[in-house]
Subunit: 239 residues, 2 copies
Amino acid sequence: MIHLVALDADDTLWHNEPLYTSTREQFRALIERYEPAGDLDDRLYAIELRNLQHFGYGVKGFVLSMIETAIELTNGRIGSADVNRIIEWGRGMLASPVELLVGVQDAVEDLARSFPLILVTKGDLLHQETKLARSGLGHLFKGIEIVSEKDARVYRTVMARYGVEPERFVMVGNSLRSDVLPAIEAGAHAVYVPYAISWVHERVPDGALPDPCHYHQLAHIRDLPALLQRLGAPARSGV
Amino acid sequence: MIHLVALDADDTLWHNEPLYTSTREQFRALIERYEPAGDLDDRLYAIELRNLQHFGYGVKGFVLSMIETAIELTNGRIGSADVNRIIEWGRGMLASPVELLVGVQDAVEDLARSFPLILVTKGDLLHQETKLARSGLGHLFKGIEIVSEKDARVYRTVMARYGVEPERFVMVGNSLRSDVLPAIEAGAHAVYVPYAISWVHERVPDGALPDPCHYHQLAHIRDLPALLQRLGAPARSGV
């Protein structure tokens, strides 16, 4: 029986990666006014990865990484108007409307009738709070856990905070690396709902799929309420 | 009787503002290689303030605001090596050692024997978690609440989360604007422990001092355990 359902936010409830993808395309076009952009994607990713330990996940770290990449790839020739442009993209990303995935509204409303829901997400604290408020879903969540990393330790802390046993907890999200594998490592259930595109950092090697007793995969979030009913709703279900 | 003690972090438990002050001094020296820096402090603060709604509190937003200010004040002549330098200062600030204020170690250990303690702080999530880990005080806190803003609503949410009545909750910090006034507005007690310097954004006009029944001021955090014992420790005190 499931006592607490945790949902990832970006690319699980609302679209996020397309915003990064389109910003990366604008960034490539900007760099190509200076130099052939060649291995830009690899360079940007390497700098993002190096900066993760300092800046964490989210738009602000991404903006700082783009500025550093631009300076490196143009051998310092990038103009300050273009640096301003990159920062302006960041402000635009942070202010961008929240677009729910198809079926999310109904699925989350349906789930909330049977289970307490929490949101567990990485990224900028202020930005994630703002997105949840703009999503119109905030009132359906009992709690919001914005975390700096999603590993087994963090899932154990979240479960302890809500006083729920791992066997009674399920994490739902679009990232095998962040939502599924560490939740299962912590003894919980996990539901993988893939999104059309994923940041390379969130990918895992083939063959890393986990313990089938706790692992579930869905093609679409609209099938989540039925799956969780099968796993078992608490007694107050249907009341 | 007090059931939960919440402590601010930056400039209450450890030094923080001096890091910003010395970075602002380096920033002024950098700008002066281009232009007389004149009203640099006002310009930087105006840009920080405009960016707060987008970037929130913390080092990354400060770095982005410095870059924008530098571009504006140099009329776009800032060199990309200097932009890199500003980002490098940010990484340095994030990695900088955590230096506890005098008396904090003893006071927090003393308090933790009588009261459950939580940390309530603004800023970058990852950075604040890292600082708490480096501080060596993490094990003394029952919870950590990293929030995007400190207003009465946020304090009410925190109190609800820990199931504590406002009359049983006390917030301790160095900012009248963030730690004291909104906590008292939410019905809680608050203890103001001033720090030597404060960011202009955290200042409040004279005469804004609150309800004396719930307001306490201390010259030094070492006097906090005795004050809270007078307000009343829970029954498990001394056990």
